[in-house]
Amino acid sequence: MHQKEKYLLLEFLFTFLLLLSILILFGKTVLTYSPHVVIGLVAGFYFTWLNRKNPRAFIPVLITLAFIGILIWLVSSIINSSLLYKKIVSICLKAAFFFEVALAFNGLPPFLTYMQALSVPILMCFPLFAGNLNPLHLILILSYLIFWVLILKVKFYHTFQSFEKPDYTIRYCALPAVVFFLAIAVVSTTIFYFLSLKDIKGGGVFYEKGLGEEVKEDAEEKEYYDLQDKVQKNISNFIPNLKLQKDRYDALRLLSLSLNEQPEAMEVKKAQDGLISYLGSPGHGLEKKDAEIITSQLKDYIDKKILINLKRIKGDAIDVLKKNEFNIMSRVSILRRINAMQFSNSYPEVNKHEKDLQNIINNSLTGKDVKRKFAQLLRRFKDWKVLEMYRRKLNFMNTQLETLEAQSKQKMKDLLSEIDSIEKAALIKDLEAKTEKMEADEAGEAKKIAEGAKTLLDLKLEMLLSEEAKRIKAKLKNFILTENKRQELEEQVEDIEDSKDIRETAEKYLQYETAIKENNLDLKKETSDFLKIKIKILSRTEKESFKGALKENILPDNGKEILDQLRELEAVETSEKLIYDAERLKENVDRFLEQGFISKNSQKELADRIQNLKDIFSFKIALGQNLRRQEADKSSDQAALWKEMIENLSLKRERKELLKRLADELLKTETIFQVEDFKVMGQREIQALSQESVKKEQIKKIEEIFNSMVTNHLVFIKEKALSALRKKIEELNKFNAQQASMINEYLRRIIENASQEEIKKNLDSLQEYVQRKPPADKERDKKVKEDGSWQIYILPPYLIAPVGSSRALKTIVIYNKLFIKEDVPGLEWHSSGPDIATVDDAGVVRMLSKGGALIKARYKGGESQEVEVIGVDRMDEQTNDIVKKEINLAH
């Protein structure tokens, strides 16, 4: 063999071993394709070896094609991947290995060198897929390096002609290489252990960009802390001047709040307002000028605090980003949006960015905890941002006020201070109306300020919302709950707070409401305030968008008609009317489209907005009703009151029990007719009381309570029925909108009309309409056929019977959730304790001995609930009663 060929063969061998050591090093990561790579490399090298003397012309063409193929695969895989960089790297890794295989088929230099060079970046990917370096890794890396040394040696001999000399050369060339390698290994390991790269990170030639910024930040922070010291000193000096001890304590508390290192935005604002009001109040012994200086210092300090906090939270967010798996795209877009949010000055823009950020975070592949953490950071960030914008806006408007005439200036000043001091959800409505009125009435500068006041109100609402959320969370802490449960509830509140459209809000609210009910928590007031504000914010945003969409078109009278309708829509109090009004509004918009006043796009947009507004308002109404229903639930409180009163009466025990049970039974009723029965029964009992030496006043009071109990319960039933009906209509709306709207229309008429006759008439026509056979709908028929579910119910749900007796169980079978049939023959019965109770095919239970057993029925794949049967000894009537009562309580 020619000397050059020998070198080539050696180089093939070492290159193969080089790549093999990497393949083994990567282990599991490349396990799926490593056999292919090994076979490919062997085949490639063999092929090259065969063609070494006269390389075929078509080989480069084929290899170029293979390269293009791999490139296309690479790009498409990356595009279709999750874009997590680990994923991207693993795809690139695979591509790199296949590049190696392709190159092996044309493995003569310089392509052989390219193969060897490509192995280095591949090796550098290794730490991404390995945890800690273990000895096997180190050995493989070492052997990789040794193969490199051998390749370098072969290349060296290949490049230069070797001078043939006595055979001791091998000894002499290997020895220094080994010494050299050992020297490098020892020195580099020593440096690695004693001089970490982090030590040189601090400066010198390895100057890092971040360092300069840190210094700058330090300066900023220093300024902030200086200011803080000043404020603290001045206000501490000022506090003893306050006359009342209470005021002094309060001021101290406020001061410590405002100086808090990890503050809540709203608390800081409150503390500032409080302190300023103390500073502004007369009689504290300070000169007016001094007080003003301290005030402005305080304001400056708070401004700075806001900026610093924004920056810190942003830093935290970036930390979270760095430490967790976000893909490159979302990383970039998150950072971009946080920056945009930090430097944005318009409320809608901030809102939009927030919404985008939430979407990005929710769609990312990170864990739930990270998402939650990020959402919290985002919320805090928004709080501060809103506060910042609010303060800026307020300051700006206060300066603007100076340009106004005295009269409107005062008016506006009042408005602004009213907005600033607003603390309760209830007041918002009035203030909103006032602002709108001013906007309509005033002109010129004042109008501009009134417009600004609207934005201010928006910001204020945001602040109130977060405050309310915090209030709920604070209250949650007072309840006895497991940590998980509390966290869950808090998360639900946060979800509602963060929700960006009404559907989401409603959905989250339902979850929250269920959780509250499950845990029996009393949060009605807080929840209602919270939701009112949320709805207000949502509706304001939607309204603004609606107006914005409207403004793009030229309408007669500036669209006054539509705006009026919108206002009306907002004021509607029943959902039927709401739906009706919304339809009318839509029709109006459509009419404008037909008349050519508005564009098709605007019409679409407006229709969407109307739909959203309708949803918001209907949610508002439903919420109101829900709250009312909760009021109705108070009937249970009244029942307790009733029981207490009865207990105080001097009556026989049995009689008392009976009367008490009356209240319980009343609350269990579900139809109006049952309630009527109980009403009659109760009134009779009450009248009977008068003959049983009960004082008249007491009777009157009892009657009063009973009546209110009945009325409340009636309202409750009505609301329940209505909501059930609405739910049905909503469902119906999904596949037959026309029918739904017709039924809705009837319902509206029934609710709105006061006269009995009208109601009856409408009710009749509604019934007639409902009972009318719907037009044949093939698809629906098909649907019915396909659903083949059987549900079986056994009545009564439990059974107590004396040993030796037998009782028949009643069954109801429902097919397709539609067809009900009673007492179907052919049920399969099963008893869990055949020695206690047996059951025959007809569903007759025979009690054999004392004890409990579970009875179950099956029918065509459906299975009933389990019915508990209890065998007891025959007993006297009194005991029987007690047992029954016990069981009643147990269930």
């Binding site: 280095v120 060296f156 230069f160 002609q161 050369t169 050299f180 390991t189 440096i191």
Partner: protein, 414 residues
């Protein structure tokens, strides 16, 4: 050398920088370790070769012939001696052999081990393709680290001069030269044995000498056998005239008019000198070169040396050259003119020398064959050439490109 290694260094640098960046940005130990390993490799590598470099005490010598003919292999022997205290590993020895082909000019040899105070003889050879005068050298020694990644170079300015003579060919027949009558000045000659043989001197008898040649008179005088020695004495003298005109240097590579002319001149000179003809060279190669009549191998060496370096730098015509030198021409001599067929027009003037009994042997290079090497179109204009009918004029010998130069002489019928 730098070209071979620069890619490796760039690659290494990129890897080091990448490791540094990733190492600084992350706390992955692998990159730290890898960075330190590669940095140490670089640093120790350079330290290693720097230590070798500053302790290097090498003595080098080149043993080479001073002359060689074109297309022959030049055998060179370099002696390298380590007079330093330390042995040397992994060094590459480089000699610049300027007379070789471009690709083979740098002769590089790895010396894996050169013990302290030891000596090594390196032999290498190269083919010299182009006549000329060359300086071999300098020597370079590259000191490598044991992995063969980095190097330092040390140059030893040791040069050796070598002449690569033009290639010659054997001439079988040559036209008859004009016999000269010029005697050897100061030497009494007598015709003893034929016209051609001149008495040269006497010397002692050596076994095998013909008895016929014994000079009895001297034998008697010296009291020992003395024989007469004869030398083929010539009266012939010839001038080779050529003009290496730059503008008429047709052809390319080694197939140019000038190369052919030089080759022919060298071969003719060699032939004539071997025939003991007194030879003169008159040429113009940018400057006028006149080598007066002389005989013997030293003269031939001079001529060859001149021919090795002769370049086509002349701007004058053959006539101009001729007119300058014609008056110095010896009477009763032969003038061999190497010319292009395009120079034919100057022939009448040259023929005027016939009065002085100077015969002319024109060796004509057919220029068109150099211009159109692939076709015969207008290859030769010999038919258009008018040959003067004088006895002093020998028919021209034509040389064309691609044809062996020996052939035209073989074709001569004498």
């Amino acid at each position: 050398m730098l070209k071979i290694f620069i890619n490796r260094w760039i690659f290494l640098l990129i890897i080091i920088i990448f490791n540094l960046i990733i190492g600084l940005r992350t706390s992955i130990k692998f990159f730290h370790l890898f960075f330190w390993f590669l940095s140490t490799l670089t640093l120790i590598g350079f330290a290693w070769i720097a230590a070798e470099y500053y302790n290097l005490r090498l003595y080098l010598r080149r043993i080479t012939p001073s002359k060689i003919e074109e297309d022959d292999y030049l055998e060179i022997e370099a002696v390298i001696e380590n007079r330093g205290f330390w042995p040397l590993f992994n060094l590459v020895f480089e000699d610049f052999v300027s007379c070789a082909e471009t690709a083979e000019r740098k002769k590089r040899l790895i010396i894996e081990y050169l013990g302290r105070k030891s000596l090594l003889k390196l032999k290498y050879r190269c083919r010299c393709l182009q006549r000329g005068r060359y300086d071999l050298g300098p020597f370079c020694v590259y000191l490598f680290d044991p992995f063969g990644l980095f190097f330092l170079r040390k140059t030893y300015r040791i040069f050796s001069e070598i002449y690569v003579y033009p290639q010659t060919f054997d001439i079988q027949n040559f036209p008859e030269l004009t016999k000269g009558f010029t005697p050897w000045f100061g030497i009494e000659t007598s015709r003893v044995s034929g016209d051609e043989h001149e008495f040269f001197g006497i010397r002692e008898y050596k076994p095998g000498d013909p008895i016929k040649k014994i000079h009895w008179l001297s034998t008697a005088r010296k009291n020992s056998l003395i024989v007469k020695e004869f030398q083929k004495q010539t009266f012939y003298s010839a001038s080779i005239v050529f003009n290496l005109n730059k503008d008429m240097n047709y052809g390319e590579g080694k197939n140019t008019v000038v190369e052919y002319a030089v080759k022919i001149a060298a071969s003719v000179a060699k032939y004539l000198i071997n025939k003991n003809v007194s030879l003169e060279i008159i040429a113009h190669v940018g400057e006028v070169v006149h080598m007066p009549f002389n005989k013997g191998p030293e003269h031939l060496d001079d001529i060859f040396r001149f021919l090795a370096t002769a370049q086509a730098e002349s701007r004058i015509t053959l006539t101009e050259l001729f007119s300058e030198f014609s008056r110095y021409m010896l009477t009763d001599s032969t003038m061999i003119v190497i010319m292009l067929d395009e120079d034919w027009k100057y022939l009448p003037e040259i023929l005027s020398l016939g009065k002085r009994n100077v015969s002319l042997i024109p060796l004509v290079l057919v220029s068109s064959s150099f211009l159109y090497p692939l076709g015969d179109k207008g290859l030769i204009k010999s038919k258009q050439m008018k040959f003067p009918r004088t006895h002093k004029f020998t028919a021209p010998i034509f040389f064309t490109r691609g044809r062996s130069l020996e052939e035209p002489f073989m074709d001569l019928k004498i």
